[in-house]
């Protein structure tokens, strides 16, 4: 149904996720090349592009990583085609090497880079504020607040990109990307895909030394031209109410600010900035001049606030700026209307109509003893079995585990609580290299297949070259599981279900010069553990590949084939309550029956991986039949 709204040829109106609206806008803008690597909160941009790809003629890749994705778009945009990529801000860290240079060379065909931050770090390793990419790279940046605006801004971004020959950032945050709302959309009119003749002079897109210096002067001019255009852009809106108080805000902050003013029953003026680099400084100065108090509402770093203060220094030195510097708002975590109400009320000497702190205190009392429910490995997840096998294999062996980004990252959470370091995509290998110099114990690195293709390869190359002594455990579940089971270079398909050549991870590792490769099936958990134990006792670098498809992905394939999944049950006559399945296995399908204190399996949750049956010392777990 959702895809139907994205592909519908005619104009219309629908309830859409912002990420879907972004895709619809790009398709309406006749985007011709799309490439991305998944990362929340942008993943549904990739997923939607991939799902509807067969309906259109744009070329699309699910790239090995964000840097390759950005470069793929850069290449096609240099030639003159419209392109789009999406990534989370930590993904842009990976892509930033090319990103900064691309600002120098510029592009010909419109190029839009959707980059999203994750305040609250819902599904990220940090709360990085990606807005600083704009000014530090001199790349213009647009910030929508909702799905409808995102749709409009994407279209503008393509136009501006071509007009000024520069890639454009579309910066969002989780609560914009993952906001659904009513979206009006236009008709889709696309030109047929055609390759173009490369007609640029030699060196047009080469930036180094002398040409870099030439580009630098040009991009400063370009930035001023864009700033001038933004001064009168309708992406920035000013609402003057005659109040002495003015709010300056953008993106998600705008939504909270408007609702908070309503809660407080006040009518401040509002400057909503849709263009957050280069900032329209005259527009801001004019707004600041008209008010005695300016409240800046923005999540994360004081990016707008510091710019507003710089403008105010000349425009209105006596203006009071309320924000993070004044202590009314925090740089940490995502906002909500109640947070902004409290900050604004405090600044204006008002009492909020609701005592939110009291509500929270009351709620905390009511929740006493409520068990946490952090994300955990799904029933049937091969990682649960792999982790069991690894921990059994290393029983009694002092070791340190350098882990990586993926579902297996969750092993450090309760109740498993396993893992010593986690930094960024692919970092497990480099960190392990450092550890093996510094640490007396056995060093183990852990990485998933997608992360290995993404950023693990150079780390392993380095380890082989230097003979670094650690064992790499590669958890190969055949897809990029955590973000929703996207294809990766190990898959036989890519975007839009088109056929792709699957790379075989052990062949690649062997070609790097590692002969000591052990391949196990985590579902055959005891045998896997024994093989791991041997491999882990040998000198590194060596590799253990634990291979079994992601349960969510495998179940979907099974259902497509009409296979039933089935479930296990506990034979209560046999169960002697050793709780091994609970103590060591931590499956959400297994709990304790309050009646007899024996283990019990929830039929609806069980995936029938049968690993718990193999772990149980009494053999009390059997297949559930005829229920």
């Amino acid at each position: 149904m959702v895809a139907a709204d994205v592909i519908r040829k005619g104009a219309g109106r629908a309830f859409m996720l912002c990420n879907e609206a972004i895709v619809r806008a790009a398709i309406e803008s006749d985007v011709k090349v799309v490439s991305a690597y998944p990362g929340s909160p942008t993943t549904e941009i990739l997923d939607t592009f991939s799902e509807v790809a067969p309906q259109f003629d744009y070329r699309m890749e699910i790239s090995a990583n964000e840097k390759v994705a950005l470069e793929t778009c850069a290449g096609a945009s240099m030639a003159g085609l419209r392109t789009m990529t999406s990534m989370k801000s930590v993904g842009l860290n990976v892509a930033s090497d090319s990103f900064y240079s691309l600002s120098y060379t510029g592009v010909k065909g419109g190029m839009v880079l959707a980059v999203a931050d994750d305040p609250q770090a819902h599904s990220s390793q940090s709360e990085q504020d990606g807005r600083y990419f704009g000014p530090s790279a001199y790349v213009p940046m647009l910030e929508p607040s909702d799905p409808q605006e995102a749709m409009a801004f994407v279209k503008k971004a393509f136009e501006l990109s071509e007009k000024h020959g520069v890639p454009m950032l579309l910066r969002t945050t989780t609560r914009v990307n993952h906001q659904s709302g009513m979206v009006e959309f236009a008709e889709i009119t696309r030109k047929p895909f055609e390759k173009v003749d490369w007609e640029h002079p030699v060196g047009r897109f080469v930036t180094v030394a002398d040409s870099a210096r030439t580009f630098k002067l040009a991009l400063l001019d370009r930035t001023e031209r864009v700033r001038e255009e933004f001064e009168s852009s309708d992406m920035n809106t000013v609402t003057l109410t005659g109040s002495e108080v003015g709010i300056i805000t953008s993106g998600a902050g705008y939504n909270y600010a408007v609702d908070a003013a309503k809660v407080l029953g006040i009518g401040p003026s509002i400057l909503k900035l849709g263009t957050t680099f280069p900032l329209p400084t005259r527009l801001i100065a004019d707004f600041v001049k008209r008010h005695r108090t300016i409240i800046v509402v923005e999540e994360l770093s004081p990016y707008l606030e510091q710019n507003v203060m710089a403008v105010a220094k000349d425009a209105n030195p006596s203006v009071r700026v309320v924000g993070k510097g004044s202590g009314h708002f925090s740089e940490a975590f995502e906002y909500n209307t109640n947070i902004v109400v409290d900050g604004m009320a405090k600044a204006l000497g008002m009492t909020p109509p609701v005592d939110y702190a009291a509500v929270m205190t009351r709620a905390t009392e009511l929740k006493k003893g409520l068990p946490d429910r952090p994300p955990t490995f799904c029933p049937g997840c091969p990682h649960r079995a792999s982790l069991w096998a690894v921990r059994q294999a290393l029983k009694g062996v002092k070791h340190v585990l350098s882990t990586d980004i993926g579902c297996y990252s969750m092993s450090f959470l309760k109740p498993v609580e396993y893992g010593d370091s986690l930094l960024s995509m692919g970092a497990s290998l480099g960190v392990a290299a450092g550890m093996q110099y510094a640490v007396k114990q056995k060093v183990v690195a852990m990485i998933g297949d997608s992360t290995f293709w993404h950023a693990g390869l150079p780390g392993l190359v380095n380890a082989v070259h230097h003979g670094d002594d650690f064992t790499l455990i590669l958890l190969d579940n055949s897809v990029t599981a955590m973000t929703g089971q996207q294809y990766n270079p190990g898959s036989d398909k890519s975007a839009g279900e088109r056929a792709a050549k699957p790379l075989v991870v052990e062949n690649v590792i062997r070609a790097m010069g590692i002969e000591d490769i052990t391949i196990v099936d985590p579902y055959d958990v005891k045998k896997a553990s024994a093989a791991m134990k041997e491999a882990l006792s040998r000198k590194g670098p060596n590799v253990i590949i634990s291979r079994r498809a992601c349960a969510l992905y495998a179940d979907r394939q099974k259902r497509k084939r009409g296979e039933t999944i089935g479930s296990n049950r506990v034979d209560k006559d046999v169960c002697k309550k050793p709780y091994t399945c609970i103590r060591q296995f931590h499956c959400p399908a297994i709990s304790i029956d309050d009646k007899d204190r024996k283990a019990t399996i929830t039929k609806e949750l069980c995936d029938r991986c049968d690993v718990c049956a193999k772990v149980c010392p009494f053999g009390s777990i059997r297949e559930r039949e005829g229920e």
């Binding site: 629908a14 309830f15 909270y256």
Partner: protein
């Protein structure tokens, strides 16, 4: 102009919460009512706590319901109703699936303490009753099974929600959206689940709060 209505929807990963918000959103779209949501995507794992802020109203900008701002909590799993209790406004209604999925963290603690009992739906109800007198427990799993598919729990709960007089979305729009959203072969069983959820609410929700005729 439709009245404003915010419902905080909570559950456990894998219960079909996002589908539920898509259904309500699509129903609003077809009825010409403005709706917006703050959804939780990202970690695709099952079994974690998840939530969707569902907001209906012409003027609302924030996709997140403020603390104390939800007219209703719709919980697909009982413990999850309590987890987000701060969002419920005073006198708001809690429609709670009586099914409990024991989190592994609780089971792990439970194992160590012989006399321990799991937190139950009744415990949740008792606690919720301390801040509102409108708590309705619905046995959605049993109802879904008798409708013909245990996976229709979410639609059972939607059926229950649909009885609320304060919900500004017409029932027909909701049912049409269910039919348009679920797989074709599952339409009948889902519509049955919707109706059975409605009936269940008639019995133990409509005695607490104004329902539609």
């Amino acid at each position: 102009m439709a009245k404003e209505f915010s419902v905080y929807m909570a559950g456990v990963g894998g219960q079909g919460l996002v589908l539920l918000s898509n259904v309500i959103g699509a129903a609003c779209a077809s009825a010409g009512i403005r709706a917006l949501t703050g959804e939780q995507h990202g970690l695709s794992q099952r079994s974690g706590s998840i939530n969707v802020h569902m907001r209906i109203g012409e003027e609302i900008r924030s996709p997140l319901i403020p603390i104390g701002g939800a007219d209703a909590i719709l919980a697909l799993e009982a413990l999850e109703a309590l987890r987000y209790v701060e969002y419920l406004r005073p006198g708001g209604v809690a429609i709670v699936n009586s099914r409990v999925q024991h989190p592994i963290s609780e089971t792990t603690e439970h194992m160590k303490e012989k006399t321990a009992v799991y937190m139950s739906a009744k415990d949740v109800e008792e606690r919720l009753l301390k801040i509102t007198d409108k708590v309705s427990l619905i046995d959605a799993l049993s109802i879904a099974r008798s409708a013909g598919n245990a996976l229709t729990e979410n639609i059972v709960m939607l059926g229950a929600l649909s009885t609320l007089d304060a919900l500004p979305v017409p029932e027909k729009a909701l049912k049409d959206a269910v039919a348009a959203t679920v797989p074709k072969k599952a339409v009948d069983v889902n519509l049955k689940a919707f109706d059975m959820g409605k009936q269940a609410a008639r019995a133990n929700l409509c005695n607490l709060v104004k329902c539609r005729e």
